[in-house]
Symmetry: C2
Amino acid sequence: IVEVKGLVKKYRVGSEIITALNGVDLQIEKGEFLAIVGTSGSGKSTLLNMMSGLERPTKGEIWINNVLLNKVKEKDMAAFRRSYMGFVFQSFNLLGSLTALENAVLPLVLQGVGSRERTQRGKELLKTLGLEKRMLNKPNQLSGGQQQRVSIARALINNPKIIFADEPTGNLDTKTTKEIMELLTSTIKKNGQTLVMVTHDWDVAAYADRIVHMVDGVIINEEKKGGV
Amino acid sequence: IVEVKGLVKKYRVGSEIITALNGVDLQIEKGEFLAIVGTSGSGKSTLLNMMSGLERPTKGEIWINNVLLNKVKEKDMAAFRRSYMGFVFQSFNLLGSLTALENAVLPLVLQGVGSRERTQRGKELLKTLGLEKRMLNKPNQLSGGQQQRVSIARALINNPKIIFADEPTGNLDTKTTKEIMELLTSTIKKNGQTLVMVTHDWDVAAYADRIVHMVDGVIINEEKKGGV
Ligand SMILES: Nc1ncnc2c1ncn2[C@@H]1O[C@H](COP(=O)(O)OP(=O)(O)OP(=O)(O)O)[C@@H](O)[C@H]1O
Ligand SMILES: Nc1ncnc2c1ncn2[C@@H]1O[C@H](COP(=O)(O)OP(=O)(O)OP(=O)(O)O)[C@@H](O)[C@H]1O
Ligand SMILES: [Mg+2]
Ligand SMILES: [Mg+2]
């Protein structure tokens, strides 16, 4: 459902050129849970941003569900993403003036879902994430891990075909992480959703069907579940 | 060097009262490395904010180096903190318009240190954190883990007596985490600095002299190094 070919991404900083991705090829099956691991600065977030159309590559192709992302115009990109994808960002990106519940149901607002249904679905999902008593809190009234769970709720609420998650458990303790991973894996298996997750936590990567390792902008290794 | 007695913190959200800290007593020795662990929402960041004077308690006393923080006036608080403390925040809090180097040396600017010395000390510290090639990048040109390392540099640059670190390795891979923890522990041992660190990572907590566990706003358990 996702394919990248020969992906290169360079940034200019002053007079320097930084190569964030140096030729990445990757194929992800529908319904697969893929974990991406690697050292800080190795290009994981950049790869995720390419696959989700949040940024354009310098070279290479990105295919989502047989659509060539490179050809999708900027004005159509947001709508394309909303119809297919959910995101958990490495730095949450919640709206400070909205409550946890309002933040979680934002994708449904953008899809024109009615207020009553939004509230019901939002409450249900936040409850499974342990946030039942924090729904009316604003982000600055939430702990770091609670904010992270709100951003997870927002990524899941519209049952997207592909979920891109950038370190979604970095601010969670071991017990909460386990609860979230159980919830995530059972949800995506039940709905046939695809999950692409960047993580630094090997216990989290262990839930995946496949793990790819990145170093200096390339994929150097791959492990399948049940493999060595 | 740090003591809290009977610490209570409540927040009002709409018509509800949330109790973030429900009676905390804690004594931290000079030169000690204390780790604080606990579930998401258990009150760790709130406790850190109380100890560092970033927020006022509802009840209870906070003593820093024999100064009763409750009695320090708001207008004097910032100067008091600058002279004693360094912080790594759970959400980095870097200034977006400044480079990594400028962000790292900000405490020195506020202390009136000259430009040449600031640049030299900043470069040296960023180099030990593996950011030698990223010093002129702005935060939005850095990976999550690189931003986290800049905020660690900022906390260390003025050799503060007490370092408060809220999940400083959450965005770092295992190898980088190990390098940071080796650097941190050797630095504080050499300089006789006190380190109070919130973490969800048990491998990180293992570096500490003592670990306290929090649940629902209270400390429920304590372990000393070499203990069971
Ligand atoms: N400004 C605030 N207003 C209302 N409630 C708050 C506020 N700050 C914190 N809280 C609540 O206090 C509790 C403790 O928050 P705190 O940030 O200390 O947790 P934490 O242990 O650091 O969690 P995490 O591991 O997720 O970072 C949480 O339930 C949170 O919702
Ligand atoms: N907008 C940008 N401008 C310049 N350089 C950038 C930009 N975004 C990322 N980089 C650089 O590209 C490299 C890869 O960044 P990326 O965010 O993908 O790393 P990462 O693997 O997600 O790291 P982390 O684990 O620390 O989050 C880094 O060295 C970073 O400095
Ligand atoms: Mg990243
Ligand atoms: Mg916290």
